[in-house]
């Protein structure tokens, strides 16, 4: 699951770079040549890619938590196996992305420590609660679905190691999405109680999915470094529109209602009314929709979301509990763990 958000570093300063090298670098990108870890790159590019890959890695690791909490409760052997494998995949994505980040100059230890001390961030969507099994279905369907859309465009970027990682990850995300779709379909073909549970979970996750792609980009985004350097290749609003075009009709087909909701500070829905704006424009093929609550988005991203503390403290607890194992591994004669 999860995708990288906008590159987090401010990306203007290239003034100190060698203009010839910079021009050559930008020409390579314009020519569609992939940049490799050992290639010359502007400092701002290195910092930006590192921030992006690290944020993405953090998101995979934290993203394992909400679903991980449901492994022990999965309602059949098949679901239990699939959910465990899914969460394991996300940890694997984190591992791959930390490796990409390591190559850009930050050690894994530093990254894991910065994550648990709150110095670095992870994707906002994992700060929301998953109180029922249907939430797990929604995460795999909507959030993995959104992640695939985002990561497919990221696989079209310019940084070789990140692009190759996206391609590998996306194959697994496709499985997660399929399994999510199957879970939602099963629940919506089930008892009235299961359908109700599913609609309520959908109400919780629909606005989170819309926020998934981040707020609207600046008007001149294409000419600013993240897009000019193909660190990202599509505007957030355009991704969001594609998401709605794909998922609003799919939800309706399944018997779900796209609602506009209000939530309390625990992330639970306090009111839900059908989104009157939801409509297909036949001419453009685009669905219009009501924007999510962007004030809430900023509140949550600043650390005041329903589950920020919970997720981070569990991650920190696991980091601390595992400290002796990491110390043992690095103090032993060999510095890598035995092969699986």
């Amino acid at each position: 699951m999860s995708g990288a958000s906008n590159p987090s570093q401010p990306m203007d300063p290239t003034g100190h770079e060698d203009p010839e090298k910079l021009a050559e670098f930008e020409q390579r990108i314009a020519d569609g040549v992939l940049i490799e870890a050992g290639d010359w790159m502007p400092d701002a590019y290195r910092m930006g890619m590192l921030g992006m890959a690290e944020h993405h890695a953090n998101s995979e690791i934290i993203g394992a938590l909400p679903e991980g909490e449901w492994i022990t409760r999965a309602p059949s052997m098949r679901r239990k196996l699939a959910l465990t494998a899914k969460v394991q995949d996300e940890v694997g994505h984190g591992q791959m992305l930390y490796r990409v980040s390591q190559e850009l100059g930050k050690s894994r230890d530093d990254m894991l420590r910065d994550l648990v001390t709150g110095k670095t961030k992870y994707h906002n969507c994992f700060n929301y609660p998953a109180p029922t099994w249907a939430d797990i279905a929604m995460i795999q369907w909507l959030i993995d679905g959104a992640a695939i859309m985002n990561q497919k465009t990221l696989a079209d970027g310019a940084y070789g190691p990140y692009v190759r990682t996206m391609n590998r990850i996306n194959m697994e995300e496709a499985f997660h999405f399929k399994s999510g779709e199957d879970m939602v379909l099963t629940l919506m073909s089930g008892t009235p109680g299961q359908k109700k549970m599913t609609q309520e979970a959908f109400d919780r996750w629909w606005p989170v999915s819309l926020m998934f792609f981040g707020p609207a980009d600046k008007p001149n985004a294409e000419s600013r470094p993240p897009m000019r350097w193909r660190m990202k290749v599509e505007r957030n609003d355009s991704l969001r529109q594609r998401f709605v075009n794909r998922f609003a009709p799919a939800a309706q087909d399944l018997g779900l209602t796209v609602n506009v909701v209000t939530k309390d500070d625990k992330g639970y829905v306090t009111s839900a009314t059908p989104d009157e704006a939801l409509m297909l424009d036949e001419a453009t093929g685009n669905w219009s929709f009501t924007q999510p609550d962007w004030d809430e988005f900023w509140r949550v991203i600043r650390g005041n979301g329903p589950c920020n503390q919970h997720r981070l403290s569990l991650r920190r607890f696991s980091y601390e509990q595992g400290g002796w194992v990491r110390r043992a591994i690095t103090s032993g004669t060999v510095s890598t763990p035995p092969a699986a």
């Binding site: 999965a74 196996l81 465990t84 990491r326 591994i329």
Partner: protein, 254 residues
Amino acid sequence: MQDMLTNPTASLILAHADDKLMLGHVQSDWTGLGPILEEDIASSAMAQDDLSHALTLYEYLGNTYGLDPDVIAFERDPADYMCCDLTTQSDEFDWANSVVKRWLMAAFTQIAIERLSRHDDADLVARCGRILPEQNLQVTHLERWIKRLAQAGPESQARMQAALDRIAPLAGMVLEIPGRLVNDDDGYYCGREEIFKQWTDQLQITLQDAGLAATFTLPDRNVEGGRRGKHADHFHEQLTEMTEVRRIEPGAAW
């Protein structure tokens, strides 16, 4: 269900399946929370193997007794679960407990499944044949970790020894005669002493290499614990959690 629960061979298979279910259940919960990403991934893979092994044995019993494997896995009376006391032990979020417990179990199960694979039912033999290679990998992997952690300095040595001290006294109960409804007879679970010796001899070699110490005892045939449905409180909590979603809508598809 009752036919299965009163049959000695079925009970033996069920005991192994329930061991695998509980081991997989507890270990899969570590996914995303392991001490090192690489080992998080590897141990989750082993948890999935254990759950798959449980499933293949439940499927075998399901075919034999006309039962849904999920019903066998999730819907028995707590007293009809035959997992041994070791497998339901909580890890208390301590990796040393997890490694020691899984190693003791994996080494035992390797021997037990190997024996089961000499059964005369071809389907059961084939299923055991698919379990064994993965079981062998688990033993190798976990043995390596036992030695590795025990030899990595005083801190981890002490933690491993402490886990062993905590867990080893329960270990012999893997050879408790399973099935509270099964009539005990002398032919049943033949070679109990022999299995115990084979298993603990193997354990002692690794312990010696690792610089750890433990004694194991084979409990009396009539001692009753998990395999005969006398479970510790934490098993009941685990089962309640495991069936929480299913119980919302009994009989529904999920």
